[in-house]
Amino acid sequence: MEGLATLWASTGIANFHWQQLIMITVGFLLLYLAISKKFEPLLLLPIGFGAVLTNIPVAGFSDEGGLLYYAYHIGIDTGVFPLLIFMGVGAMTDFGALIANPKMLLLGAAAQTGIFATLFGAILLNLIPGFNFTLADASAIAIIGGADGPTAIFLASRLAPDLLGAIAVAAYSYMALVPIIQPPIMKALTTKEERKIVMEQLRPVSAKEKMIFPLMVLGITLLFLPEATPLVGMFCLGNLMRECGVVDRLSKTAQNELINVITIFLGLAVGSKLSADKFLTVETLGILALGAVAFGIGTACGVLMAKLMSKLSGGKINPLIGAAGVSAVPMAARVVNKVGLEANPHNFLLMHAMGPNVAGVLGSAVAAGILLALVGG
């Protein structure tokens, strides 16, 4: 029965390297977080599954000709998948709250300090032996602070493909952890009185304003920051399809079936970068640490900017909403609402936090464009 011997020689048991076993465990851990802890399950489930598959010996999922090889090279190497996800997210996003109160854009800007400060921090980390981040690596890591999955994956695929797996996992994990990371920072930087501030109701926004908004964003992006137009442009296309009212069937497909299909393959493809040699490094630890720092700084700067605006406006702005400027839509806005309710049970901040929340998406896409223009290429 030579067959049995041949078969034994091709079993996983006979071919495993211990690093693959660890990475498969990491994959199952991600599945656990996605399913039991509800950590951004739409992406962490396929990522976790992809991590398991890519580390199976003999099967060759990520070798040339394997399923994950195609998913990665067709979808991520080209940048196509994150851009299509961004189009779908654009088709899901309602900019009404932001148009009603455009000053909220400043909070979306302030929270991006988390990105650029972390970039500086990543370079500083090179002082510790074992770390050796280039400026491109540091930029890709820093974008975790943008709290926006497709932006992070797009930038990482451009600037530091080897770190893509760790960066994506960190970005989605911290986005899922927003309810744990943000509240202490928000409370530390605000007084109870500030947290109690009730904001006045937003004015209604007309359909026409909502329709012109994405065109305007596209317009100034192509004038001032064309490097950001892939991300911003596809986002605006999705939003225009949503708001123009004449292509509803395209808009619905973009925010449902299309984004679902792409999400499955994007997740699997990201997971395929979680191989032992890329992930089981000291750099991954650095990325996880820097990601947490980035989220913290972004939250803090958002809150501080909101505090400043609150002062200048004579107390009309609740500084908590600054925390939503990191994006992490809509989790961060809900956290703002929850912390606000703790201070004042009749204070519903959700709609007010949606403004900075969607501003943060634009903010990090702009930051990504700046990094591409100055570091990429």
Binding site: F120, K208, L371
Partner: protein
């Protein structure tokens, strides 16, 4: 290693500065433009009733016009079906 990090650290500091300036400038321009746009298209604090009638007038129309092929196909099918079952 540590003495090599100087220039790249400087570059990172420069990026931090330039990046934040540009992010604020970009979104600041957008604030200005949104306000301008809202005042131009009459969306600035409209009387609620006006907005309502406005929306009532605008929204259904596109919905009606959208995707005429499907609608026409359906109505043709219904018409055909009624004829078949007369």
């Amino acid at each position: 290693m540590e003495n090599n990090i100087g220039p790249v650290l400087l570059e990172a500091a420069n990026l931090l500065l330039v990046g934040m300036v540009v992010v604020f400038a970009f979104l600041g321009i957008l604030i200005f433009l949104v306000k301008l746009m809202s005042s131009l298209v009459g969306g600035d604090s409209p009387a609620p009733s006006a907005t309502n009638s406005n929306q009532a007038a605008r929204r259904p129309a596109p919905a009606k016009q959208d995707d005429v092929k499907v609608k026409a196909a359906i109505s043709a099918a219904i018409h055909q079906y009624r004829q078949d079952n007369k």
